[in-house]
Amino acid sequence: MRIGLFIPCYIDAFFPEVGIATLELLERFGHAVDYPRDQTCCGQPMANSGFNAECADTEALFVRNFSGFDYVVAPSGSCVHHVRNNFDAIEQTDEVKEVRARTFELVEFLHDIQQVEAFPWAKFPHRVGLHNSCGTLRRLKHARPSELHEPFFSKPIDLLSKVEGIEFVKPARPDECCGFGGTFSVFEEVVSTKMGYDKVSDHAQAGAEYIVSADSSCLMHQQGCAERIGVPMKFIHIAQILNGASV
């Protein structure tokens, strides 16, 4: 299986360890993983702000980079959501449709495609609070959102439960948005940061040592908020735990 590794701009620049963990994890399952060097971004920042025309060139570049792989995998829910559900600034040729349909977020890929049974290399003896980003929770449907009357399921908890020693805490408002919201974080920074303060405080009160998420962008925002108000909290991407991070 040939996998194209998509490492979104934030992760590339600020969280290289998340990209490395994702790559190593996919390699552990025996996949041939390529990282196309000319990749940049999926276009989401412009599209989310309403500037769809401005992301046409970026989307076209994305397709050039990722055409022809069996799967494109990225450790970022919101980017995958954009590619799969909103990526329409360019003409929807068969090639474009193909790339969009083959793009998966890492948790989905491991849970639904790879159907991983065990992570024997992974131990994480810590209390963690799971943060489902809104993109993974309500768009990619990683888990049952608390607003809906449907049976409970959670793909990230399914995967993390296979890691030895891990313990989950229950924040009071598990599905509440942390306030990142892409460009919302800068265009509406006061509300955004207040949401972030409340989010990290909720996890801290629940006794979490770590907040774990499939989205580095939410974690980057939450970490910035926690440091500003002095909440002692550590942040880790789910790929790092599943790849056997020892911290």
Partner: protein
Amino acid sequence: MSTAPEPIDGGMLHPELRAPDDRDAIIRGGRRLDHAEGTSKPLRTRPEPQPRGAKVYGNRPIDQQEAAARFIAAPEHERMHDERLWDLRQKRDREMHGIPEWEELRSLASAIKEHTLTHLDEYLDQFEANARANGIHVHWARDAAEHNQIVNGILRDHGAKSLIKSKSMLTEECGFRSYMASVGIEVIETDLGERIQQLDNEDPSHVVVPAVHKLRTDVADVFSRTIGTDPDNSDVHYLAEAQREATRPLILNADAGMTGANFVVAETGTFVVCTNEGNADLSANVPKLHIASIGIEKIIPRMEHLAVFVRLLSRSALGSPMTQYTSHFRGPRAGGEMHVVLVDNGRSERLGLAEFWTSLKCIRCGACMNTCPVYRRSGGLSYGATYSGPIGLIIDPTFNKRKYSNLPYASSLNGSCTNVCPVKINIHEQIYAWRRVLAEEHAVPLVKKAAMKAAGMLLSRPAAYRAVIAAADTALAHLPRFVIYNGLNAWGKHREVPHAPKQTFHSWYHANRGAKQ
């Protein structure tokens, strides 16, 4: 922060006495002398003043963010507001879990509304004919001005000088109270929250709980100024009773009554009003003249459809199984008169908007507001519009694209609103769609456009992009471009910037897997 020296009283002093600019302070040997009694007894603390809503300058775009920042700067208000509305959301969840067929009900409600909206003319005609047969006078109003004139005409015909009315968002749309004041008719709101807002000369901040942004100390302040209560007494029973004493005589002596309607039934020519205070029944039944102002989207085909909506409405709104009162109005009572004014006010035009017409399914339960993390932390008045919260973001621009052009950005697009909506409006997708419309029509600030254009240029050119983010510190300054726009670091103002790693993933890959490719 003040540069004054650390307090020398070891924290014994009341904060109000510790003010660095206190010129009456007497210092002896480096220590401040204090009156024993003054330090031993807590001073009366002034309640936190209520933050006011968005500043409105004619047609200029509302700055929701500015008003939200002031709301957040009033922590008692913000915390109370957030917790009170979150409590409603939790109660709604509990009610939902008591109804096994909840998701089917939502689908059914959505289907009934979509069917009705796509056959609106037929059902409105049917309602009109049946209502007339029931003895109801039916009027049609194209817009707010026509609505106000029609109501004024009815009141004039009856020589009415005072009007008691129950809560109605439609009349807020129409600027009805200020119009009535201009023609010399006294309006008395009968919903307690709405009455508080009326006495405070402030718009409702929420479609169901209009004064939810106020602390009881704010209400004590309003009532002390308007109905003469003790300004220091914020006991809720005292305040409610005082308001009742002040308003009941006005209700009993009113010349006419007005209600809105939650649902209008085409097959019976009747309408239904849901309240928790019974105030619609006062408005409708005390005076002989009853006028109901109703938006044309409130119609449902048959009485059996009502059951679907009544089961969803209060559970979604307040997390209670039913409203206390579900009042059916079938026609004028003996010796009385009943008028229905069916109001369009932009609804037909909205029905023609391919991406936004389903917003007309809204039953005004407010569940999207209660769940919205932005709304809970901003207060409804920060939106500067009749409709606030998620539903407001998608309805308000249909009234005035320029004035409400910033509102669709007051959302993190988290999608919780869509999931709680009892009629399954895809609210967050419509918010996203509005951003596209506004950006394409150049209704968003140029600086935002310039930032997005620059980001689009950079992110589509791998070589330029690589050069910019080659080193972590330059990446911080340039990636993404919008983080530092307009010369202001909006990221770092209230949170820390990410820690710069030694190398990017890209360069790690080059060093460690470089042989490949």
